[in-house]
């Protein structure tokens, strides 16, 4: 690697309204007051960082942009320091696709992720959760991120793709390189993409002589509307997407949920007493601690909630900030564990609705059910520090708990 690619440090933010930076440590640690400040200033704010980027701060502005594929393209979906030339139309379809290519690419991925398909996967996820819990339940001090939340989604998606669950650490490292280090250091991102391509290349090759009943074979056997197989780069792009999108997003959501329950005994006790409320609670935890911020690129001049937006800029599409908009959600800053009306946008809005939303919901529900069944008493370890991931996906990466009633 050359020294030229070394990441550039970002100056600290002193004026959030005109100079926001979602990679700033203050944002990483506690973004909620920042979003409130920005929302009070304008429905759309702008920063010169990242070569120019807007941030819609209200639910309505986020919805407008998510539903407007004419002025906002998904060809770039991560806001970064650099904006390299786009060389492939198959970066990670359908998430990086615009109409008209988007629909067929999306429809291809939907059938394996319906709620019914997820019911079939549920016993495996329940077993994964219990295997993980078996491993640490006798201990008093446990990092729940390192020992539990981190492993559940990666093993579940590996199981679906038909790749060894034991390769999990490899996948987790690629994702860290792409979604976190890659924001400031292009070389890390490219290296991870190369390694993933080589890895999946091997699995695709193996299935040419010996097809299997998994998502990789499903994509290899898929046909477009003219009956032609997908281009290799399309198969590879979709596999990359499924691996990247399916892992640290749900890991983050499960982690934030346990973090909330660790510091909120009343909610924890209620869910233990009324396990039937867990699906409702999952929706509220998704709203309050939405992990995923997406991005768009402005391709045509327009206005959003009355604010002008100009081509050449990126848009940080903050579903998490939308979900904290008090105009949309009464008591938006509180976790109301039995909230009945909840049109949260944690999985996006419009045509790019997360293809794995049913998988994520099932994983969150099962992970919380199994944890609460076996570990009803837990709290944050005052001797430890909770740390949060930086950038596009937000969740606890270190989650020190004390288990049991002791101490």
């Amino acid at each position: 690697m050359s020294d030229v690619d070394q990441p550039v440090a970002h100056p600290p933010v002193t004026d959030w309204v005109h100079d926001f930076d979602h990679t700033d440590p203050q944002w990483t640690e506690d973004p909620f007051p920042i979003w409130d400040e920005l929302r009070a200033a304008s429905p759309v704010v702008h920063t010169k960082r990242f070569l120019g980027c807007y941030l819609p701060t209200t639910y309505e502005a986020v919805r407008e942009i998510a539903n407007d594929t004419e002025h906002f393209s998904s060809r770039r979906i991560i806001v970064r320091d650099v904006r390299p030339e786009i060389t492939s139309k198959n970066a990670a379809p359908p998430i990086t696709s615009d109409p008209p290519e988007h629909k067929p690419a999306k429809q291809l991925l939907l059938p394996p992720f319906t709620p019914d398909a997820m019911k079939k996967l549920e016993p495996r996820v329940r077993a994964i959760c219990n295997e993980l819990i078996d491993d640490f339940i006798a201990e008093q001090r446990v990092d729940a991120a390192a020992r539990y939340t981190k492993h559940i989604p990666v093993r579940a998606i590996a199981h679906m793709l038909g790749i060894p669950e034991s390769d999990s650490d490899l996948f987790i490292n690629w994702i860290h390189m792409i979604l976190e280090l890659g924001i400031r250091d292009e070389s890390k991102l490219l290296q991870a993409v190369q390694e993933m391509t080589a890895y999946f290349g091997g699995h695709i090759e193996a299935r040419k002589s010996k097809p299997s009943d998994d998502l990789i074979s499903y994509l290899m056997n898929a046909r477009d509307k003219n009956g032609n197989p997908l281009e290799d780069t399309h198969v590879m792009g979709s596999l990359r997407l499924l691996l990247i999108a399916g892992i640290d997003t749900t890991w983050s959501a499960i982690g934030s949920s346990l973090w909330h329950l660790a510091k909120t005994p009343a909610d924890r006790e209620r869910l233990i007493a009324e396990p039937g409320l867990i699906p409702t609670a999952v929706e509220e935890l998704l709203r309050a601690y939405s992990p995923v911020t997406m991005a768009r690129e402005v391709v045509k001049e327009t206005t959003v909630s009355g604010c002008p937006v100009k081509p050449g800029n990126m848009v940080l599409l903050s579903f998490p900030a939308a979900n904290r908009d008090p105009k949309m959600f009464p008591d938006a800053d509180k976790v109301v564990i039995d909230r009945r009306e909840n049109r949260h946008a944690a999985f996006g809005l419009g045509i790019h609705r997360c293809v794995g939303s049913n998988l994520a919901r099932m994983e969150m529900q099962v992970a919380l059910e199994e944890w609460l069944k076996r570990i009803p008493d837990f709290r944050l370890d005052p001797a430890g520090t909770v740390t949060w991931s930086q950038g596009t996906v937000r969740g606890p990466r270190q989650l020190p708990f004390l288990l049991g009633e002791a101490m």
Binding site: L110, R340, F347
Partner: protein
């Protein structure tokens, strides 16, 4: 006599969040892509009115209508 309700899903707005199916499984069905439509002709059987309103108020795409007949 109490008024009868009907549910309807706008297929152009539905993006397959499947919240309606989770909250009111008796009133909605999903196709092979996970997109929703009303079960049968959408008539809400007596006793399920609350579920119909709940499904409507949780649809992120505002794709569900509850019609009072």
């Amino acid at each position: 006599m109490a008024e009868r309700l009907k549910v309807r899903v706008d297929p152009d707005k539905c993006q397959g969040h499947a919240r309606c199916k989770a909250l009111a499984p008796e009133l909605f069905e999903l196709d092979e892509y996970g997109n929703a439509h009303a079960a049968g002709d959408g008539t809400v059987p007596p006793g399920l009115e609350d579920k119909a309103w709940l499904a409507k108020s949780n649809c992120p795409e505002i794709a569900i209508d509850v019609i009072e007949e």
